[in-house]
């Protein structure tokens, strides 16, 4: 049931085991952080954080969308659940360390994914997609009506002046947390690709009926994918209140997050963990460049326009283009 592309990719990629791959990721991440510290420009951390956040969001989306073929449009719902769980925790226990908030946000978002998936994943894929689209609206309605976390007015979060553990500007700490999250998400995504779970996902994507008939527990696998995907999105959202320091529903549920998280894997390529990274770095970098040089209004169109262009003209994404040439 595994498509030819997957087999080729498994053969073409360097056969690195899970643990060595994780170590390589950690070394690369440490290198990036050391480089940033050496540059010591706050802007680099601010811009870098956004790209890292999109790597996490894009990879999280891809675990469900790219691997199983089920399209989740409710990215903002999961992302904002993470963000608002941090706002809530900040209000009741401001001294809680950020990594703990990330875990809480991820667990909550994962649970919402489980509930959603349980109700809608037994139907055709489009119904799941539509339900996630509606989920984004309903979570936004709930948050808007929940005064404790700021309601429609929004909430302010005061971040510490100095970063814990590492010292320096707090944004460096945020960058480091997001970098760590990136390592976790990418290692998970690659581990899934190479495990029985990944083959099960691919079987669902290629022909769900046949997979079901040959004994693949499709509902269970889809639920696992939804929980992982939603959970990582929640984790990506958890540090957001500290990054923006003022969070209101309109910005927390901005459609930009959803479009970018879907566009980046589709532009990079959905069949492997590398695609969302390539997409996030290229599109995120391009957007940042356009925001600085042209206008912030034009940059939001880039992801949408590129996504439409890529799904029409290059359905395998950038990674797919290179693979075909080889």
């Amino acid at each position: 049931m595994v498509s030819l592309a997957d087999k080729q990719q498994a053969g073409a990629a360097p056969a690195l085991g899970g643990i060595p791959f994780l170590l390589v990721l950690i070394v690369i991440a440490a290198g990036i952080f050391a480089f940033g510290r050496w540059l010591n420009i706050s802007y680099a951390f601010f811009a870098g954080y956004v790209v890292l956040q999109y790597i996490v969001l894009g990879t999280a989306w891809n675990i469900l969308g790219g691997y199983t073929g089920y399209v989740n449009f409710g990215i903002t719902a999961f992302f904002a659940i993470g963000a608002y769980s941090s706002v809530f925790l900040y209000k009741i226990a401001p001294s809680l360390p950020l990594p703990l908030m990330v875990v809480v946000g991820g667990v909550l978002a994962g649970l919402v994914g489980l509930g959603m998936g349980y109700l809608t994943l037994r139907l055709r894929g489009v119904f799941f997609s539509i339900a996630t689209l509606a989920l984004a609206v309903v979570v936004q309605t709930l948050i808007t009506n929940w005064d404790f976390v700021g309601g429609a007015r929004g909430a302010y979060v005061l971040r510490p002046r100095v970063a814990p553990l590492i010292g320096g500007d707090y944004v460096q700490y945020l960058f480091l947390v997001m970098l760590g999250l990136c390592v976790v998400v990418l290692a998970t995504a690659r581990a899934i690709e190479r495990s029985g779970l990944g083959y099960g996902f691919a079987a669902i994507r290629d022909d769900e009926g046949a997979a079901e008939a040959s004994g693949v527990p499709t509902l269970k696998l889809k639920l696992i994918a939804t929980v992982l995907s939603g959970g990582f999105m929640g984790m990506a959202g958890a540090p957001l209140p500290y990054y923006v320091t003022y969070l209101d529903p309109a910005s927390g549920f901005s459609l930009n997050y959803a479009v970018n998280a879907i566009a980046m894997p589709l532009i990079g390529g959905t069949s492997s963990w590398l695609g969302p990274v390539v997409g996030a770095v290229l599109v995120g970098g391009l957007q940042e460049y356009i925001r600085v040089t042209i206008s912030s209004a034009a940059n939001v169109l880039v992801a949408g326009g590129l996504m439409v262009a890529f799904v029409i003209a290059a359905p395998e994404g950038i990674v797919g283009l290179f693979r075909r040439k080889r």
């Binding site: 399209v71 339900a131 459609l255 209004a297 169109l301 996504m307």
Partner: protein, 291 residues
Amino acid sequence: MDGSLGLLLNAVVSGLLLGGFYAAVSIGVAISFGMLDIVNIAHPAFILLGSYVAYLANTLLGIDPLLTAVIALPAFYLLGMAVYQVYYLSFERRQDQSLRGLSFFFGLLFIAEVTLVLIFGVDYRLVQAPYIGPSLHLGWLELPLRLLVPFLVSMLMVVGLQLFLTRSFTGRAIEAVAQDPLALRLMAADPTRIKRVAFGLSFATAAIAGAILIIIQPVEPSIGREYIGRIFAICVLGGLGSFSGMVIAAVTLGVVESLTATFFGPSWAPAVSFGVLLVTLAVRPSGILGR
């Protein structure tokens, strides 16, 4: 008349009128999703495009929004045919509707919304027409013309389309392509051409739905998203491919939302459609009048 009972009855009546309007908003998706199996989630964005066309013609030239909608119909029809052509060549022919086809429409939704923001900004826009403002008073019952006129226009459109689909040759061919495209091919009719016509029609309804949307409420580019959940809740609840089911579902949702807004506050109304959608999917995915 007791105060709270009057409030209840007025909420039910305005819910009925609102539901009639929801039918106009949903009928485009009832055609594209229900009959052609094309999940056009960008439909609300094109409804808003219709609203802004009506807004421009109204503020610049003083034309009535409903008249504008009729004038804009052919343009929307052609736009719909063009979008279907791209969709067919890029996704339907490659059997890649689910992941990339859906993303395509999501991208269109986003592009349309951002373009409207860039041109018109995020301020609320509204139109002027003689029937916006006054109400009919029937005893204790208050019927705002602002809701009554859209209701009537919407019902007219639904009935007209229903007649077209059941009586005309092309309409029957659209019904046929929904049921069995292969059989249609054997009858020497081109399913792709029929689907193109049907998709053009579904877009054309957006011109009218957009005009009556801006009659009912002031619009800004992002309110289209509120309608996505509503539209699909209505289409799924009504049963895909059934117009009468869709109208029943639209009116039901209108009444429930209106009651929610009256008794719990308007900010809770958007959550209603999601609840309806989720319960329908969990309990009876084929809808009330589904095949």
